[in-house]
Subunit: 360 residues, 3 copies
């Protein structure tokens, strides 16, 4: 099914699940816009590809092979919402596959000051580049732009690197990859208990990951937060409709002993509509302290989308269960895998892996 | 003739035509500084090269060939006047030929705050790079810098990507390429009527393109604008001295039926010396409306240097005569061709094209 | 000896000389943090490598060879203190060896605004890149970050491109290279007289170079400055303890006739703690005027770390003794050599040079 065949109004009326067939083609993303476009089979496939790319890149000949795969392509990083981490991760993913990158990080240097519409700006980028990776504070902007381009003569792919409060699909997929790697020898994600802690109301990573977890069997989810930062009713409703077990509480200590993964988050006060709004909530009870480590399973993992503040002290970094730095690096590999799929070079890479890397 | 043999005063005293031999070498630009350095033979040659590069880049092996042609060279994009579009177009042109790029887009991060002269800054860039592409609000700056470098031990080439009100040679050349492609099967640009509409006083693209059109036979030019935005007397004088037919009017509707190309422009209020100066002129009569399309020839083309505001509504984008998006992409190909000529690799590319691409 | 085996407190207690074994491995830098990590043998080696890289890069096949040496690596340029010159020089060095580069030049676009610690930011960069080149106003920051990374799972190398008042090791090494090239046919640096002029109190390049000059035999150093800008007592003490001949004066004219190198500097008023502090010192007597050239040896060289202001007029640029533009370009070659050593590919390059370039 082709995105260009829909009007913008028709596309907007679809619910997230119904959008998937317009965004995927034979299991490969045409754009990466929403977490819901990925189902279980596609997630499994993506994780396998990410691991093969990671292992291939470790060998000099493999790194050289990867670096030529898309060396004839150019990617635009259009980041009007600042995020060094997400920017660099995507840039590194491009460089691994040989894509050349250009960037617009500051709208003040752009034609928007000459009165150009955002649609025209994005069409401009599409004239010079083969892929747009975009991040914005504006809800739904990446979807809108993918649709706009679908109507043009150069309908190039878009990766949503975060738009508005609720969508951050590549973060969700990298979290899935981190969970999958962490539980690799213990039956994978199925049957595990994931506990989310902190600012669940505004953290788009939690919302996106919870959505993706509905693809797995017998998963149980805990949402641990002060009342004013609890997970939104739409996610609750989604989990109910899918029959996913979950519980909501404000008791952090009680939630630790049976967690297979503790997913910490920071207070997202950059979204505060009132100054000091977040400061009036006491979040110190939702910080992980060195003492808490004793309460956790020895096999559990600690995740965090980073950047962190006080919710995890640096001394915990050395605990073998601290997975957040590896989680960040996983992001680079998953994004590389997504780009490979978008440009339909994933099979070439897997074939190279089978012939030259496996068993190395 | 060598630029370095002249003093700056001697160079400045030359009129534009007389500068050409100092900027060209055997039909190839040594620098790209002013539209007048290109004559008919050179324009024809450049357009042919741009098309061959465009077709070569479409084939993976051709793209790889192009990507190695200048992979040992580095280009500096020095853009102190913001222009995302022109920046990205030149960057893409560099990447197509494998040139690595560096950039300075904000003088606040530069040594100028430590009291360095602009001449020294540019000599610094010339120490680390093999080509400088520069854009500035300062009239004549690119010419000045090309002369400064000509006196140094590293007289590297400069491309003027816009300096001051009156010079934007690469835009003029891309406009010529767009006209030439549009009229390819109908005898080329000779004998055509080009109508310029909008802010003709301050749009350097119009001034530059009008100048280049004097190279073609039997061209007729219309300047359609409110009185306060009409084309300057220097261009009028130039056209008169060359015997080019032209007319000046404020009647947009009357100008449409016999135009082969309608070149729309936006009000350039960023040059306003007084706040609101532009706002006091009613330009709404110089907007292209969907109804106007009926008045135009079916073979006519609509051009615009972009960014646009209200002068062309988005609904017109779908009309097959709307050429402005392709015009923008043409810019990338023409700039690639100019860089290839500067580094004297154009013959290698044409030879590859003849052997591997033509008839593909 | 391994940096990771020390606590931060233990590292800080070491004096500069004692740090060297923790920063070097078998004559190659693991990080480039302080000038004192380089001794005579290492400086000689580095200068030889820089020259071989320079000559290799001049040949197209050599440039292509170099451009593949580290094409599988990525470097982050983390410049929170603005310096176009140092930035571009390092970027060019990376590009020469094929390293892909990413950059953070403005902390406002970084996660630091989300409350991330500098340590976490640098660990983030280390997740996506293989080398960090950093410049900061904060004294000792590069050393701190190298130590932090040494404790992590990805202890990637750091190059200090300037931190705080006192450390700028790559500038010191490029100055050594410039002196060594200038005196190549006259016995090298041993036995020469180097005269430093200008703002010696705050110029970190002078401090760093004076330190490195203690590695050479029979060098004599003159410090010529107004009293309030004279060289600090720590450098005086260092020279005394090493038995290096030096003299301190405020008489610029008298210092010229016997100098083999005159190292000019500008007033570093960006470090002024009070507005106008520097303006109250009359530095005009410490400017090199065209007439002064007659007082200098015909074989002497004039150096300057650039940017310059009035201390050297442009008319002097044409004097064959003016070495500052070449000095700047030397910086690119030395930095390329340092990166090659860090990644242990220097022997590959020297071997290529011996087989394909020497005698070309």
């Amino acid at each position: 099914m082709r995105l260009r065949s829909l009007s913008w109004e028709q596309y907007q009326e679809l619910d997230a699940e119904a959008k998937a067939p317009y965004l995927m083609d034979n299991g490969r993303p045409q754009h990466v816009l929403i977490p819901q476009q990925f189902r279980r089979a596609e997630l499994d496939n993506l994780c396998a590809l990410a691991t093969e790319i990671r292992r291939t890149a470790k060998i000099r000949a493999g790194a050289d092979f990867l670096g030529n795969v898309l060396s004839h392509k150019r990617a635009m990083l259009y980041f009007t919402q600042p995020s060094t981490r997400t920017f660099l991760s995507h840039q590194a993913a491009c460089l691994i596959l040989g894509l050349k990158t250009g960037e617009v990080r500051d709208t003040a240097t752009s034609s928007e000051i000459k009165g150009e519409s955002r649609e025209d700006s994005v069409r401009t980028f599409s004239s010079y580049f083969d892929l747009i990776i975009m991040r914005s504070k504006e809800r739904g902007l990446a979807e809108r732009m993918a649709w706009v381009l679908s109507q043009s003569e150069r309908p190039i792919p878009i990766i949503n690197a975060g738009s508005g409060h609720d969508q951050h699909p590549t973060q969700a997929v990298l979290d899935i990859y981190t969970l999958q790697r962490s539980f690799e020898t213990r039956g994978g994600i199925d049957g595990k208990r994931i506990v989310f802690v902190g600012d669940l109301a505004r953290g788009r990573t939690v919302r996106s990951l919870a959505t993706l977890l509905t693809n797995y069997k017998d998963v149980s989810i805990g949402f641990v937060a002060p009342d004013s930062f609890q997970i939104g009713p739409d996610i609750i409703e989604l989990l109910r409709s899918r029959g996913v077990r979950f519980d909501v509480s404000a008791d952090f200590e009680a939630a630790l002993p049976d967690a297979d993964a503790v997913y910490m988050t920071r207070v997202q006060d950059e979204w505060d509509t009132e100054t000091g709004q977040s400061a009036r909530v006491d979040v110190s009870k939702f910080h992980l302290r060195p003492d808490d480590l004793k309460r956790m399973k020895p096999t559990a993992v600690i995740m965090h989308p980073l950047p962190r503040r006080e919710e995890i002290p640096e001394s915990i970094d050395r605990d073998p269960r601290a997975m957040y730095w590896r989680q960040m690096r996983n992001g680079m590999w998953v994004r590389t895998a997504l780009i490979a799929q978008i440009f339909n070079v994933d099979e070439d890479i897997r074939s190279y892996f089978r012939q030259h890397v496996r068993g190395y």
